[in-house]
Amino acid sequence: MDYNTIFTVLGICVVAAPAVLVAAMGLMALLDRSPSEAAMGQLTQAAVVTGLLAAMAILGLMLLLDTRHVPIELGNWVIIPEQHFHFKLKFVFDRLSVPFVILSYLLCGTVGAFSHVYLLREPGRMRFFLLYALFLLGMIVTSLSGTIETLFFGWELVGLSSALLVAFFQDRAAPARNGQWVWTVYRVADAAFLVAALTMHHLTGGGEFDKLMGAGPWPEGQAALTPNQALFVGALLLVAAAGKSGLVPFTGWLPRAMEGPTPSSAIFYGALSVHLGAFLLLRVSPILKLSPLLCAAIVTLGLLTAILAAMAARVQSDVKSALAFSSATQVGIIVAEIGLGLYYIALAHILGHACLRTLQLLRAPTLLRDYATLENAIGARLSHPSRLWERSVPAGLRLWLYRLALERGYLDAWLADYGVRPVVRVFQWCDRMERKWTDFLSGGQSRESDRVQPSPETLERLEKLL
């Protein structure tokens, strides 16, 4: 047995463990069979431990053999010869993906064990663990993807499970609304991603990162694009990353995502999901290198996010929003680091930040006790001495800045009132035109539904009308 076979077996283990978990949970959910709480916990732990051990083994072997790039191909799954399209499942273990996979397994495993106790007797427990499994699978696929299609596949799984977990408490209005907000932002990001992927296919004739970025192991590849092409594709990918990582102007979804149970907030928004945009930028870093303009844009966006979020974090009076904005601050800095070409620092930053924030979020409910402990140790009320820059800013400007921070940079208002509203208006206009036209054609009121009022009994009255 040669090393390649071992790598392949281990690699399949890494990917298959969460896939099997999703299949098992999904099947049980489909058959309306809820496994016992203990069984669910054991199943999850088994999948995570298998995947984690396999990933560690691969890391060990790679260190032992001194390889930096281990591709595992699982063949073409869809081939459309006329369109020159093939959907190729390919996973790559390299300096970027291996740490990310191990981090995902470690944090997901811990959070899984935590949730096992935390969600005891919760009616939506099965749904939670199914989404959790889906998320884990998405994370692993995204991290290991060797082609842009595979990456998109995992990226979508992560987005779907995250949005559904935000709306976990579906019987209250706020989680459902905020879940939808997150989902909408993700869709915008996905659209940008998809266009970028198609463009890259078009430019290089395939979705494999090897071809796109040149054959060198990450991050030393050389992309075969012109600077203008790189700028175009890179800008689209930057939009995708901005949506996923809560960069300006999408930062507002991050605190809104704190609607789910504490552990899901911790793992998704504190730790893994929010870094996915940065991961994407790291993955396509050879493209970024080609266009200095793009790099400048990335740095600007990152710093802008970091500054805005840091200000917002300073005025938050509830612990989870404060942590969400602190996360956004660090993600902004990480993105700026990527723009500056500091890839290894960015990677280390991601790993450290993810662990730290998960711990902080998991113990967020214990804040009151922590503060009491600190006060007792220090022997006085905790104070926040104002910083030099705060004191040197004139009072009027300080007020203005405070309002900006309290209103979270007005980003949500801009998005809703100046981004979404015009779109809605346009479609409403289309609707009015259509109605006029059909009314004209039918010579009277053409739509029964116009007369129906929105209320719980709507359905019933609709029935009467029909």
Partner: protein, 1054 residues
């Protein structure tokens, strides 16, 4: 001019009065760090309970009782019995029980049937689907017994074959129905009617019944009174357009209120906070160039004008009210509705304003009015925007009220109850009671109307009320029976000493008549229901010990600061404000150690704080994140191995803990008034003697002292639990009561105090030593204080006591574990103790303990009346010896003055949070988010949530508290006369009251305004050897039982 001004100020005063009146509806929960249980519907206490819950549920939009399904489940498990339902029903109906309703029998029978059979209802559309698509018309409901089903089918068959087809009897004059039934027979195949199978007949019967019911209730006039239009335009708009104008307002206000109330979490404090809510808001939002939100376009201009005209908050409210077109007579209702729309924050502002002593940064007086002023300005903008978007309305706001109401005028023919819903209700009853088809067939329209009205008069709230009363009745009867029977058996046992266990004879009668030997030790705990099992186990392990219950502050009302505490904490019930201060100090030889360690602590604390803050800032965050990978170690170990991690932490934490020997600064010179300075701290000897005397007389411990008397305060510690304080001692206002026990023991040990007491006729012998201790009810650990002062002569006594207490901790943990789903039922007591220790250190644990869940009874009596009775941790036990009281019941009155409101508050808070956890309580704990260091929000940005969480109340059974008091009915009535609050709670039935005769097992129950002598309903009380024999292997509810092991100390009134 002057006149105008006077009028104006009078008007504003009235407005202010209205607002303050409305404020009483707001939740009265203060900061979550000092959680005090209180009646959720405190504002309604002057109404009878049943009326108040209905009224409250209307105003707050929450449930008054459990759901009908829950009560039905209880019927299945015999927690509600038919006999109790009928007794309650007869009582409730009074003379109306016998009203005859044609073939339906009496009103009582109809209502009983409606309670016995599950009646389901659904929206009309769903019912139509049920009838058309399910087998509702093919098979009888599975709840209907087979015999009833058979009878029903048989009747129909007879009727069809004999009367309908052969015209034996006159048929109804209703042609339509006649034809319908005829068609029905055709459809089923009249030709083969004699060969119809049983299934066909069943289906046919149901079809006939359904047609008749549907036809019968058709056109019955509705007695339904249309609800008045909502007082807020927002509700009307929500109904017509689906847009909630509160949404943007609340989003902004939640942020702003959070910043305003913040107790020091945000690094950047709200500018101008000292100037109050209104001015801070105006200052922040009056400048242009602010938020671009479309709905509040122009807000800054309005605010700027308010500032320039120097309009005060009250005037501003007045202005907003007229702009919104609120008529003078609507004002009160409107203002209440507005306040309740963000009730958590409004209530917290009111609390911070009225009880500013409980927080670090109180709110200035008038903050609630200022909040309301801002709320109304925003309301104006949000409504105008919503009306513009939804209705295309652009006129002045005051006209919006009428315009919007016009838009919701209900369509004619749109009833609150649909024909389907009515028909289905009758249909289900017809099935369950086997009503004869010919009876229904012959019913006139007026009779149908009566039937429908009768059914609708007994609405679901009414049904739930009866279920609830039946549920309470059973538990109350069982409890009172248990007390009576227990006493009788004690009396029998005393009369025949031969039957007593060998150990019993040697240790005698505790009433102090000289025959008895002294108890091994005496132990006094809080009255808390969680200590009941602890005391029971102690008595089982060492039958020669005695236990007492007293409110857990033990009469020591103080501000206390521990050696490692930053601030003074009030350790006394919330209604008292202490004037004495007590501090813990290191003893002389450890002063240096203490100084060094507190230095280290301060350095470490400051570093941690910097790390805390730093991790959330820009550059500090980079630094901490780069080392953040290190966080994975505590992350993984804390989650996977909580107990081990806690042990390690304790080991290392020991280096910075307070030194091993400390003392309390407890004594002050008699010439210094009490105060927070070093010299003014503590009590004079005289005051100490007063405290000790009062406490000992309260619990009736005035003679027969054991050599060792242990006072045990209690508290609870858990992680990731914002409600941690709610688990602590209620008598210490949500703090831990250890220091009170410690202080009390020190006082009682003081020889000068004993001399004073001796002069007042209370002799504490020389060889009696008091010890203070602290019981952690979550991890079941017990810590003792001041053991360095334990005389050598008492070392063996203490060792023996310690052994008993250690065993009791294990058994107590074991009994608690039966309720924890993650603890296997087969755990050994040792493993159970480890389990509960792990629970209190587990970050992921949402149920560190169950707190007061299942509390149901308060017993104010000598322990001998309940000793050896298994009370399942459901009873508050207050020790009181009527023999030691005077004829004015002075001691009892002062005990009850605290005990009844406090225990009723706990019981009622649990009642409401349990009945509707998402409405009255704070919902599930999982998404809780600590806000402003004051309370919790659900998720990212919600109102502050008050009350208890799902996880705290899930095993609770909502029962009103039953107080059983060892005194005479006359004595109790006298106390009620003198105490208005007790009287109100009892007479309005927020609690139940019974007296237990001091001389016999006779019980009087307070009903309908007077005490009635009670006849025991049952003669059986199970008897077991030990508590374990009774509770082992069982998670759910357990009844009362007599435990022999604890019985060796015979009752004193034998």
């Amino acid at each position: 001019m002057l006149r105008d001004q006077e009028d104006r100020s009078e008007q504003l005063d009235e407005l202010k009065h209205l607002i303050e009146h409305a404020a009483h509806l707001l939740p009265a929960q203060g900061p979550i760090t000092v959680f005090v249980h209180h009646n959720t519907l405190h504002a309604f206490e002057d109404l009878p309970f049943d009326q108040a819950v209905v009224e409250g549920s209307r105003i707050f939009g929450c449930e008054p009782y459990l759901s009908e399904e829950r009560y039905r489940e209880m019927m299945i498990h015999e927690r509600i019995r038919t006999e109790d339902i009928s007794a309650v029903l007869i009582d409730d109906l009074g003379d109306e029980a016998d009203v005859l309703l044609g073939f339906l029998g009496t009103r009582y029978h109809l209502r009983l049937a409606m309670l016995q059979h599950p009646l389901r209802t659904a929206p009309a559309a769903e019912l139509r689907w049920v009838v058309a698509e399910t087998d509702a018309l093919r098979r009888f409901s599975p709840d209907v017994p087979a015999s009833v089903r058979e009878r029903s089918i048989e009747q129909t068959r007879h009727w069809v074959m004999r009367d309908l087809r052969n015209g034996g009897r006159p048929v109804a004059d209703d042609e339509f129905l006649k034809n319908e039934i005829h068609d029905l027979i055709q459809t089923f195949g009249e030709a083969h009617i004699e060969e119809w199978s049983a299934a066909t007949w069943e289906s046919f019967t149901l079809h006939v019944l359904w047609r008749m019911c549907y036809h019968g209730v058709h056109g019955v006039h509705t007695s339904f009174v249309p609800t008045p239009p909502p007082v807020r335009v927002r509700d009307v708009l929500l109904e017509t357009t689906g847009t909630d104008s509160d949404e943007p307002v609340n989003e902004l206000l939640i942020r702003f209120c959070g910043a305003f109330l913040d107790q020091g979490f945000a690094h950047w404090r709200l500018p101008n906070r000292d100037q109050g809510f209104y001015r801070a808001f105006l200052a922040l939002y009056r400048e242009p160039g602010g938020p671009p939100d479309v709905w509040r376009e122009g807000l800054h201009k309005v605010l700027d004008e308010l500032v320039r005209n120097q309009t005060g908050p009250l005037e501003c409210i007045d202005e907003s009210l007229s702009l919104l077109g609120v008529a003078t007579e609507e004002r009160e209702a409107f203002l209440s509705a507005i306040l309740l729309s963000l009730r958590g924050f409004a209530g917290m502002i009111w609390q911070m304003e009225t009880r500013g002593d409980r927080v670090a940064h109180p709110a200035p007086t008038g903050s609630l009015i200022e909040f309301l002023a801002v709320r109304l300005i925003l309301e104006r903008f949000a409504l105008a925007h919503a009306a513009r978007e939804g209705l295309g309305f652009r006129g002045p706001l005051e006209e919006l009220r009428t315009a919007a109401r016009r838009a919701v005028t209900p369509e004619p023919g749109h009833y609150a109850v649909s024909v389907e819903q009515r028909a289905f209700m009758v249909f289900q009853l017809a099935q369950a009671l086997a009503w004869k088809p010919q009876d229904l067939y012959g019913m006139k329209q007026a009779e149908w109307a009566t039937l429908v009205q009768e059914i609708e008069a007994f609405s679901d709230v009414e049904r739930r009320r009866i279920y609830h009363q039946a549920f309470e009745r059973l538990y109350m009867n069982q409890a009172l029976d248990a007390l009576t029977l227990h006493q009788r058996r004690d009396d029998q046992a005393a009369a025949t000493p031969r039957l007593r266990r060998a150990g019993a004879t040697s240790n005698g009668n505790p009433s102090g008549n000289g025959r008895a030997s002294k108890p091994k030790f005496q132990l006094i705990t809080c009255i808390d229901d969680r200590e009941e099992s602890f005391r029971r186990h102690l008595e089982e392990i060492e039958p020669a010990c005695e236990t007492f219950g007293a409110a857990g502050f033990f009469g020591v009302v103080m501000y206390y600061r521990g050696l490692t505490d930053a601030h003074f904490t009030p350790l006394c019930p919330i209604i008292l404000r202490p004037s004495h201060y007590v501090e813990e100090e290191p003893v002389y030889i450890f002063e240096e150690t203490h100084r060094r360690r507190s230095q280290t602590r301060r350095v470490l604390g400051a570093a941690t704080h910097r790390w805390h803050i730093g991790s959330r800032t820009l550059l500090g965050g980079v630094f901490t994140s780069l080392f953040g990978s290190l966080a994975s170690f505590p992350l993984v170990t804390r989650v996977l191995f909580p107990r081990l991690t806690a042990k390690l932490r304790k080991k290392f934490g020991g280096l910075v803990q307070s030194p091993p020997v400390t003392q309390l600064r407890l004594e002050r010179g008699s010439d210094v008034p009490p105060g927070p300075h070093k010299e003014a701290m503590g009590y004079t000897v005289d005051e100490m003697a007063g405290i000790v005397e009062r406490q000992l007389r309260d619990i009736g411990l005035t003679s027969r002292f054991a050599r060792l008397v242990v006072f045990v305060g209690h508290g609870s510690s858990s992680l990731n639990n914002p409600h941690e304080s709610a688990y602590n001692c209620g008598a210490c206002a949500g703090s831990r009561g250890g220091p009170n026990a410690r202080a009390f023991a020190r006082m009682a040990n003081d020889s000068r105090v004993r001399d004073l007491l001796f002069k007042r006729g209370l002799t504490i012998p020389q060889d009696v030593v008091f010890i203070g201790a602290y019981h952690n009810t979550c991890s079941d650990s017990v810590t003792f204080f001041d053991l360095d002062r334990l005389p050598a002569s008492h070392k063996t006594d203490f060792d023996a006591t310690l052994e008993v207490i250690d065993e009791a901790r294990k058994r107590n943990a074991h009994e608690r574990c039966r309720r924890f789903e993650t603890a296997p039922l087969t755990l050994s007591p040792e493993a159970a103790l480890r389990h509960v220790e792990g629970r209190s250190e587990d970050l992921a644990q949402t149920r560190p303990e169950y707190n007061h869940a299942t509390n149901a009874v308060t017993l104010v009596a000598r322990r001998s009346r309940s000793r050896g009775l298994f009370l399942d941790r459901r009873t508050f036990l207050t020790s009181y010896d009527p023999a030691g009281d005077d004829e004015h019941h002075t001691i009892l009155a002062r005990i009850l003055r605290a005990a009844i409101p406090v225990c009723a508050g706990i019981s009622l808070e649990y009642y409401f949070s349990c009945v509707d956890p998402a409405g009255w309580g704070c919902g599930t704990k999982l998404p809780h988010n600590v806000a402003s260091l004051l309370g919790v929000m659900a998720g990212a940005a919600s109102d502050l949530r008050t009350g208890l969480s799902n996880q705290m109340v899930e095993i609770h059974e909502p029962l009103r508290q039953l107080f059983v008091i060892e005194t005479t009915p006359e004595g109790m009535l006298q106390i009620m006369r003198e105490n208005e609050q007790i009287d109100r709670l009892v007479r309005n039935e927020w609690v139940f009251l019974a007296t237990l005769s001091p001389h016999s097992s006779e019980i009087h129950v307070f009903r309908n305004g007077r005490f009635e002598r009670r006849r025991p309903g049952s003669n059986t009380l199970p008897e077991v050897d030990s508590s374990q024999d009774w509770y082992r292997g069982w998670r759910g509810h357990l009844g009362f039982a007599r435990v022999r092991a604890a019985m060796s100390s015979p009752s004193e009134d034998a």
